[in-house]
């Protein structure tokens, strides 16, 4: 990859990153932070690439430790975000159920 291509990708990603969260409501700050946190767990892919190419014991141990930590970050991050959001989602349903009961 040329440096120019990398710079282009980098610059465009910054703008997309700014843009996608620009309208977030306060209510969702915590889940959004948690979700973004899970996304940077994608370093797992990098950790696997390094571990896959590692030959010395030192490199291997560092890379395997990285795989372990990155997995915790990624998997734990997505699960905890889902738990937070589960609660938001439960609400309209419960309200609907109540309305349905009231209608009867």
């Amino acid at each position: 990859m040329t440096s120019m291509a990398i710079l282009t990708i980098f610059a465009l990603s910054i703008f997309v990153g700014f843009e996608v969260v620009s309208k977030v409501s306060t209510t969702l700050h915590t889940p959004l932070m948690s979700g973004a946190n899970a996304i940077h767990g994608i370093i797992l892919v990098g950790a696997i690439m390094v571990a896959d190419g590692a030959t010395s014991t030192l490199e291997t141990s560092l890379a395997i430790a990285a795989v372990l930590l990155a997995t915790i970050n990624m998997v734990g991050g997505f699960v905890v975000t889902d738990r937070m959001l589960e609660m938001f989602k439960g609400k309209p349903k419960a309200a609907k159920a109540k309305d349905a009961e009231a209608a009867k």
Binding site: L28, H29, I43, I48, I72, F78, V79
Partner: protein
């Protein structure tokens, strides 16, 4: 696997992350957004095992890698599933920290792998990743200790602290320069150690109330380290994903800081400007008015409008269901009930909304600060349940106190204020609350859930 297919799949994953962040910004699509992100991340993890290899290279350590992933899942999933909702912020901090640590380890391992063959740009990216990754790791551990209350939640400031921090930062940058100019393993190791120390020093002077901003900031930092490792590893996916998190995390941090009336700059460099706190001990002996659950029930019963201000104490006592029961009873009596939600009620912005949603509190009763503040003069009773800092007038009246300048809920404008508190202990930020001594304030001591249950029973008896 064919190189083009591999890269196309990488692009799909990058797009899934954009969709995930987009989805997470709106309540309706948030959960789906998170699932899209998780699906993308899973796909990327599987696909990387089939990455096309360069000439003469072979796969190593596959079994070890899979074992490490399995252990990671066994640690991460139960932690995320079993954690109490009140302890969620520190878990997010910890997840962020291990992510930063992972990025630093990846960069170090790749640096060893490249050896003398590394280009200057690659070494610079490595140095950046190790510095920021280590800072993020140790900083997150300190925020975890603060939030878990394993250490003091007050700002830790020691004499000459700012010089120590400045010297450490200079040391980090100096060793960074050394690594770039001379290469080798020793400079990188020293630099990593200093960066770990810097992370600790950076977060120590931050007061409890600012911790969420720091978590969000470290989160953005970790994103950038991922992007930098992506550069070293020639992975477009890592560059895109890391930059997305870095950029969106920065915006999010700024929004959080705005919600708390903090300048991002002030929080960032608070470490350098922190002054020892104004002493606030002398008020201890003053008298307060405490009431019984019956008194509180009577006050509520004859009110026309009641605003409930929930805080972290409510979450700790698991009182969200009881508070809803009380609110429903009052509403059934024709009393206008609302919840006044401070943007940082709980330990993170939006934390209280999550907790109340768990108790099925109707969404329309949750009123944000800007909307509820003008209604306090028409409010008869404010019921403050386990909150303190977010209603502390010191934020307006005492320059120099750690929460000065933070917007607060103006509950003192209301007719009566009832505090449900466990003790006279100051709140998370560690500042005395003048409002507790006000003539219109009644205190009801005890566990929030017990107290609320007693008030509910007293109301039933009326």
């Amino acid at each position: 696997m064919n190189k083009n297919i591999y890269e196309l799949l990488g692009l799909a994953v990058a797009l899934s992350f954009i969709l995930a962040l987009k989805g997470l910004s709106a309540p309706k699509t948030a959960r789906r957004g998170n699932l899209i992100g998780a699906a993308g991340a899973t796909l990327a993890t599987v696909v990387v095992f089939f990455a096309p290899l360069g000439e003469g290279k072979s796969h190593h350590n596959t079994i070890l890698i899979i074992a490490a992933i399995a252990i990671g899942v066994l640690v991460g999933v139960p932690a995320a599933r079993k954690i109490q909702m009140t302890q969620m912020p520190q878990l997010v901090a910890l997840f962020n920290g291990v992510g930063g640590g992972a990025a630093a380890l990846v960069a170090t391992a790749e640096y060893l792998n490249l050896g003398d063959g590394a280009s200057t740009a690659e070494v610079v990216a490595t140095v950046f990743t190790v510095i920021v990754g280590c800072t993020s790791f140790s900083g997150s551990v300190v925020t975890f200790l603060k939030l878990q209350e394993l250490m003091t939640t007050r700002p830790v400031v020691f004499p000459g602290g700012r010089f120590v921090i400045a010297a450490t930062l200079a040391g980090v940058l100096g060793t960074g320069g050394w690594t770039i100019s001379s290469g080798g393993n020793t400079p990188l190791l020293v630099m990593g150690g200093l960066a770990l120390l810097f992370g600790v020093l950076f977060v120590l002077p931050v007061g409890g109330a600012d911790v969420p901003i720091v978590i969000s900031l470290l989160n953005a930092f970790t994103g950038l380290t991922v992007a930098a490792s992506g550069y070293v590893l020639q992975s477009t996916l890592l560059i895109v994903a890391g930059t997305l998190v870095g950029a969106s995390g920065t915006i999010l941090t700024r929004k959080m800081a705005e919600a708390m009336g903090r300048s991002l700059f002030g929080t960032l460099f608070g470490a350098f400007t922190a002054k020892p706190q104004v002493a606030t001990g002398e008020a201890e002996a003053r008298s307060v008015k405490s009431g019984s659950p019956d008194d509180v029930a009577i006050l509520l019963n004859y009110a026309q409008r009641v605003v409930i201000v929930p805080g972290f104490g409510l979450a700790v006592a698991q009182a969200q269901h009881t508070v809803r029961e009380l609110a429903d009873m009052l509403a059934a009596k024709g009393i206008d009930v609302a919840y006044g939600i401070h943007p940082v009620a709980g330990r993170m912005p939006g934390h209280m909304n999550v907790l109340l949603a768990e108790a099925n509190v109707p969404y329309e009763q949750l009123v944000e600060m800007d909307e509820v503040n003008p209604t306090f003069p028409q409010t008869d009773v404010v019921l403050v349940v386990g909150a303190n800092d977010v209603v502390n007038p010191a934020a307006k009246t005492t320059p120099g106190c750690p929460i000065y300048g933070m917007p607060i809920l103006d509950v003192s404008e209301a007719g009566n204020v009832i505090f449900l508190k466990r003790s006279m202990r100051p709140g998370f930020a560690g500042i005395e609350n003048e409002l507790l001594y006000d003539a219109k304030t009644t205190l009801l001591f005890g566990d929030a859930k017990d107290s609320l249950t007693k008030v509910v029973n007293a109301l039933k008896a009326l």
